[in-house]
Assembly symmetry: C2
Homo-oligomer: 210 residues x 2
């Protein structure tokens, strides 16, 4: 058995954040596929035994079971000694972007992409709301990345791995990224990190048509 | 001048998280009122000089300017030696609930309350979406609080101060809380903390009809 197990599925960008971190750090890990689309995360057993919040990813390391991608990223940065902060100011700056990601970035794009590309709701007032909110967040991130190559300092950190969670799903992202030039360049920088993989090459896929 | 300044306005539950923490810790602080409803947080000067994310709260402490309520709460816990974690496991557990708050709890109730009670959009597909999502998050929190008095351990921590940010706005919360008995008892416990104040008694209000 690998040192780390990750409850995940490839369509989950939040899982991807953790999986990419494990891979980039060359840690000994294996995915534990979660059947999200058939309700596994909503089942009582999952909520009792794996995660009361009913979410992926969950990282298992020995007797530790850690949920919330932000906490997992921070934990793994400590374990691997990579992509973490160099000092307290950096630590807070990284945390700031990870909170922003959870509140205003991943939160909107994850739901927008789920509705349009997976649940196939079509365009609705809700998708329009999410698209506008995500656009606002993208503008803020693009402005920040106009000033520096990565979100914090001059190197990739877990803040970047958090915000990029849903950015590599290509055509599944129902919002054109062309006008966010600095975001696009930042994505290329992340793709250039040694060991980078696409989410669908890192984790088991679900049997759904996406 | 007080030791800490907090950019805030009373209608902002995210500001309330930080203001309540400052007050409960008896720290020397003063509010700096932000005219959110007339666009101050969207103005270029605010984005350049105060917070590029265009949000409140922002805490100023000497030369430090800290944004994102979660980061502020964590910083103040360190400053005051109160409401913070006692060990690494607790630290991660607190962080886990604060990420959950940003992603699934505050994110939905803040926007729902803004739309219904401040912007007065009336009921729309978007408010229905937000209400359902917030209901799901409330159910998870209620289940957790059925097992323990506060979110982490047996005492109030910054996790509680984060999740309670929008819970005390009374009739402005457009979702009945009666069926969440454990949440209601938890709110009473928070109200019983020495020094607790209502958001409208802690920060300057805006000149809007709420």
């Amino acid at each position: 058995m690998s040192k780390y197990q990750l409850y995940c599925f490839a369509e989950s960008g939040n899982s991807y954040k953790a999986a990419l971190m494990l891979e980039l750090c060359k840690l000994d890990w294996q995915p534990v596929w979660v059947d999200y689309f058939n309700g596994q995360t909503r089942a009582p057993e999952y909520r009792t035994e794996v995660n009361e919040m009913g979410e992926v990813p969950v990282l298992v390391h020995g007797s530790k079971k850690i949920s919330q991608s932000g906490v997992i990223l921070e934990y793994l940065a400590g374990e691997a000694g990579k992509f973490g902060p160099n000092n307290e100011d950096e630590r807070r700056e990284i945390l700031r972007w990870m909170f922003f990601d959870n509140h205003k970035f991943t939160s909107y794009i994850a739901t927008l992409r789920f509705m349009v590309s997976l649940a196939k709701t079509g365009e609705t007032p809700v998708t329009e709301f999410l698209r506008q909110r995500f656009g606002n967040a993208l503008t803020i991130v693009d402005g920040h990345l106009a000033k520096q190559p990565f979100l914090v300092g001059n190197r990739a950190t877990i803040a970047d791995l958090s915000l990029c969670g849903y950015m590599f799903y290509g055509a599944e992202i129902p919002l054109p990224l062309e006008s966010y030039a600095h975001v696009l360049k930042w994505m290329e920088r992340i793709k250039s990190l040694p060991g980078w993989k696409h989410p669908y090459d890192l984790m088991p896929r679900s049997k759904v048509d996406v």
